[in-house]
Amino acid sequence: MNITQSFRLAIKSILSNRMRAILTMLGMIIGVASVIIIVGIMNGLTKKIESSYADMGINSISVYVQKNGNRMVTEKDMYQFYNDNQDLIKEISPSLEQKYVVKNAETKFKANVKGVSETYAEIKSLTLKEGRFINYADVLLRQNNCVIGAYVEDKLFGKGNGIGETIKINGETFQVVGRVKEVAGRKKGSADDCIYVSYSKVIRMSKSTEIGSYEMMAVDSTLADPLVAKLETWLYEKIGNRDYFYAFSMSSMISSMNTIMGMLALALAGIAAISLLVAGIGIMNIMLVSVTERTQEIGIRKSLGARRRDILNQFIIEAAAVSGIGGLIGILVGVLLVLLIGKLSNMQASPSITSIIISFTVSVGTGVVFGYMPAKKAALLNPIDALRGE
């Protein structure tokens, strides 16, 4: 008997016991669907995180330096490094972060104030909704001009437009000259919760003398990691202790984030895979019952000349068909749910082809593996006993 005939026989047998087949498949459906949903959502999440990092500038590099005794890196040193490495660095900007009380006629709250140069917007891929960013004149003349993030704008002006208005930062009066386009969902503590001022002004306001952090932009994303390496060597020469400085590229951060997300997805998919195992045991159970119920059928087939292999194939194919059909339904359910979740959550959740192929293979494989034992039992039945239904 060939495989096609065994397969038709299996379908026939499944159809003749529909309720049982559906209940057996249910485990497989849930298992496969949950693997696909989990992988799909994790993919969507990773993409979302990746794109929000990319918005912050995929070529950007952050550098933090501290004084080590009397060894330090001044602003002048840093700009010298920039001038010496124009082949690697496209732009550089100091980035001084302070928390100051901000107020206008309506409200008063603490906000993040960032002291930056005119190149910062390009480094961090900030786009302006209206007005202008901090410019060279602001830096040079320490002018009281500021550019506000979306969250700060909401807080200060509600639905209104703040351009040209004045606000007080740490008691000093500033004029709003630009509004930055939303980058991170207008939430407190996000990149939207920020007021940009010239760094020279922030140095003055914070009464500090040195600049502790910089943002740089590599000429090309492939140069980001070489630039970090070069920076680290240079900073080590200057400061003499690795504990006092820190440089990292956004791309390395994205890749380590991807690694973490990948591991998380794998762990979750592993948990979902356990349900596939449970489904497999369910299939084995039902196939054992089926073999017992069909002992006489097996006896009849054997008396008519069915060999062990014929009976083995028949039952394995039946188990594989049950689990395979369950797997297909699971894929369908999983894919539909992933697409639905993606639509509802505004996340690019998409079913991955790999997870579909793997879970289908696993489901059929589970049927074969767990169907083998009952099938073997059927194949080894003695025809005389089997005919008597024993």
Partner: protein, 238 residues
């Protein structure tokens, strides 16, 4: 006897079973030769060993000792799958309870031996239909066993036994579940098959059924106590 060609031969066949501490000698030195074209009835009371003999003749089981030859092949020491092939190619079974598969329709049931013989689907259908014609059930080919009467089901099982064109038709109490009228019909069929040259071995406990055969083999306690033609049997048992 229409021909002298030997079809099956049992030489000193013994079959012992261990039941608890007791050894049961179901067959205890059976010597039996059946030639092509014979119609033999094996009779005996329950426990006489006739079912065991049938199992060995039908290649469902192998003897504990002794030899069993069918068409020049020694079956005595065959493995499971080899026995399956012998059953498939050489033996057509007719059982008391018909043993039709309820989920398959009539023609699919008849096709089964051909399926396991690896006959392709077109030939299979053709040969199965031919076998159904011989038992007069060709219009019922797409019915399910449940939709047929007992006599019709037994005729389907006869068609199934014929489909593979076996050397031997082995009928185990074929009329045991039938009323007297259908018993007559079924026996009529077996006679017709015999007239066409088929070799038939009939196992029964019913004397009136056995008397339809040409030759009678009577078993008791695992031994043959009579082997001769019907007339001889009749004269001894009157």
């Amino acid at each position: 006897m229409k021909s002298k060609e030997v079809l099956i031969e049992l030489k000193e066949v013994c079959k012992y079973y261990q039941i608890g501490d007791e050894e049961v000698r179901a067959n205890d030195g059976i010597n039996l030769t059946i030639c092509k074209g014979e119609f033999v009835a094996i009779i005996g009371k329950s426990g006489s060993g006739k079912s065991t003999t049938m199992n060995i003749i039908g290649a469902l089981d192998v003897p504990t000792s002794g030899e069993y030859w069918i068409q020049g092949t020694n079956v005595s020491h065959m493995k499971d799958d080899e026995l399956a092939t012998i059953r498939n190619k050489m033996v057509g079974f007719i059982f008391q309870q018909y043993y039709l598969l309820s989920k398959l329709n009539v023609i699919e049931n008849v096709e089964l031996p051909l399926l396991y013989a690896g006959v392709d689907s077109v030939n299979r259908k053709e040969r199965a239909m031919q076998a159904l014609k011989e038992v007069g059930l060709e219009e019922k080919w797409n019915k399910f066993p449940k939709q047929l009467s007992g006599g019709q089901q037994q005729r389907v099982s006869i068609a199934r036994a014929l489909a593979g064109n076996p050397s031997l038709i082995l009928a185990d109490e074929p009329t045991g579940a039938l009323d007297s009228k259908t018993t007559k019909d079924v026996l009529g069929f077996l006679k017709k098959l015999h007239d066409k040259g088929n070799t038939i071995v009939l196992i029964t406990h019913d004397q009136s059924v056995a008397l339809q055969a040409e030759r009678i083999v009577n078993l008791m306690d695992g031994k043959i106590i009579f082997d001769g033609d019907v007339e001889e049997y009749k004269s001894q048992n009157q």
